[in-house]
Subunit: 429 residues, 2 copies
């Protein structure tokens, strides 16, 4: 039997090195998994020459039954887990990452969370990897978040796989009307049993965020490759920009709302957010599933739009080039997109343009070809991210099929998705 | 009659301010267009209170007939103009940007170019906006570049619209085999009559690049929003990342080969390039047009792949999420992409995965779902850009339809498109 238990702060001497950290739930009598003060995890094989000294016993007494301790003096929050890497561990036999079965297991890895907030509930309405998410899951999630906030929680943390986390954050941003409390959407780029597990700091920052005054859906992920702070990014202005780095989530055409440091300090960088209030949150989840996102490329055949028209799609976001261009002057091989776009619009299919440059704004007023497209009815979606525009279009068309109304709402800034003026620091932040 | 001519260096006193710059070709007896030393252009209405002093007369004597003066002591180069903003001017009546009719007009704006290189030829094989380009234009361009290099030019400058400039740069990178001399692909984000015209510095940097030892296709565009230096980026590792900024072209998963400063100084940052030699350049332009680029998104219907299979496409690059994921575990609404991907591969359609995160690498070895896709025959294309992968696939399938051979070539680093190890500075450079 080990002389320590999960949550204990210990000092370990091994091979001339000294490590100080908190014992994590995954430790057993043979292997000790320590979460170091740096945020990194360290696995130590116990045995000869390894000296473990308990510096302080866990106050939380998190044991293998994983009961979440409640501290009624702290603000109440709920955690909604949806699966993904943050709720995953590696199967060391196959090397594959698989979901952990209970979301509470995750909490056991980060016992200090219960010193920051009073976790009233940890639920898992569904557990899917984020690439398998669809609008159905966004709707269930929005309803569950609204329920928890209206039940008196100060905020909600949603844990999510990172691959489509920004799509879900955008969906929650539009679906949660009258949002009066913070909603932190967090994930992990590394699974919980890896030394570089980032979910711990992200969860801690997320917990601090739920205590803040910022009544927004925000993505809270590592700001750098270090475990020093998280960025608080608006759910509609953030994108996964790297497949593996822990600081992969970057603001686009925007600076972050703020930084949350490891000690809980919130450094506000951008004051364009709604403040906490007592308004009842409404989950307005109507969503038109027949929306598509199509990336244009040189030589692309415009007939692809006919495929979507035939399948009765109601709206298409085209990721155009530059300021919002697609082929309109047919060359030897190329085909103009203009006739098919006109056909789609005639059949009341909404056509919106964003830019595949990621950063910047589309603008139909520079080139005459783009003005021709605009005259044909294409809606140029300002500085909106393609992913956000796709999600917003499904939500808007869930509410109206009238083309003029849809255009009006697509160009109306509903959840911070449009900036009338771009902040130069919002490029490559 | 004005006392100055295009190319003269003049000092202008106006309203208490003094400006020094070179008179551009677009000046006339009423309006003086100066290219200032800062690189910016300034339009001055001549008349009372405006004092113009000629500091030095143009040696080039560029006149309105626009004959390109040759200086046989300088290295010979050719300029191939393809249209785009760099070869455009604004119609002040409509506000629209339209192409300038002769590429030589562009040179007249930058008379000092003839002091850097000996321009043997300015040709314009076609003039299309870059969104209208297709593989046919890439093929013509590659042949023309190879011809000029094999005729004894030291290098070639290709001017191009910026929207798909990176696709064309990638196409030239693959099509120009045995490339033994520098090929600069440059564009302008602002038209030549705007104060913020960036094409001048880009052309000057491009000219200096053609004198260098770097036998690569490189994109030479502004490094910052200032007119201080250009970045030299590998044609396969660069992307337009902003719709309007002059420093929009950024390296992805790579650091630039170097910087070229306004005075011609080449600062090498990355030595992974081929050196100048005497090898004969081969234009290997075979290209399979039936290739597509498809971006995955949450809830995306995999039937889109059936559309391409039916249309007899030979290869599809799927911009997957994160490390290379698409829906494989069907949820309530979602459909798995696995069966349709298997069907495509069975029909010998090449399926390659890149990441829509832009930065980073795809990796099938982290999640079991990705391994299932790999086992089904999906090729995970390392750290290749989606745009580069799309171009490369057309080029590879132009040479072989054998799936194993195509896979081998797609995973072989042919023109710097794959880095085995990512340089951390290559993120958000």
């Amino acid at each position: 039997m080990a002389a320590y238990s999960a949550g204990d702060k210990v000092q370990v001497k091994s091979k001339g090195e000294t490590y100080t950290g908190v014992v994590s739930q995954e430790s057993n009598s043979k292997n000790l998994l320590l979460r170091l003060d740096s945020g990194y995890s360290l696995g130590i094989k116990l045995g000869k020459g390894i000296n473990v000294k308990v510096l302080s016993k866990s106050k939380q007494n998190i044991n293998s039954n994983i009961e979440v301790k409640q501290n009624s003096e702290l603000p109440k929050i709920a955690i909604i887990s949806t699966g993904g890497t943050i709720a995953s561990k590696v199967d060391y036999k196959t090397g594959a990452v698989s979901p952990i079965s209970k979301p509470e297991e995750l909490l056991a890895l980060i016992p200090e969370l219960t010193n920051i907030v009073n976790i009233t509930k940890v639920s898992q309405p569904f557990a899917v990897f984020s690439e398998d998410m669809s609008s159905k899951e966004w709707q269930r999630l929005a309803k569950e978040v609204a329920d928890e906030l209206n039940k008196g929680n100060s905020g909600v943390i949603v844990t999510h796989g990172t691959d489509t986390l920004h799509y879900t954050a955008a969906a929650l941003s539009f679906m949660l009307r009258n949002l009066s409390k913070p909603v932190a959407v967090i994930g992990g780029q590394r699974s919980s049993d890896r030394g570089s597990f980032d979910g711990a700091l992200n969860l801690i920052c997320g917990a601090y965020f739920t205590k803040s005054d910022i009544a927004e859906v925000a993505v809270i992920m590592h700001g750098t490759t270090e475990d020093n702070f998280c960025l608080v990014n608006k759910g509609t202005k953030v994108r996964k920009l790297h497949s593996s780095r822990r600081d992969a989530f970057r603001p686009i055409n925007e600076i972050p709302l703020g930084r949350i440091w490891k000690d809980g300090t919130l450094e506000v960088l951008n004051k364009t957010y709604n403040k906490r209030s007592d308004k009842k949150v409404i989950a307005d989840t109507k969503f038109e599933e027949k929306v598509a996102l199509v990336k244009f490329y040189p030589g692309a055949d415009p007939d692809i739009l006919k495929y979507f028209i035939k399948k009765d799609y109601k709206g298409i976001i085209i990721e155009a080039t530059g300021l919002g261009q697609v082929a309109t002057s047919p060359t030897a091989k190329n085909k103009s997109w203009l006739p098919v776009i006109k056909e789609a619009i005639k059949k009341k299919v909404f056509i919106g343009f964003t830019s595949q440059t990621i950063y910047g704004r589309v603008d139909p007023y520079v080139y005459s070809s783009a003005r021709t497209l605009q005259d044909a009815g294409v809606v140029f979606l300002e500085d909106m991210l393609s992913e956000t525009a796709f999600v917003k279009l499904g939500w808007v068309l869930g509410h109206t099929k009238n083309p003029d109304e849809a255009k009006k709402f697509m160009l109306l800034n509903i959840a911070g998705e449009i900036n009338s003026k771009l902040e130069p620091r919002g490029f490559l932040y």
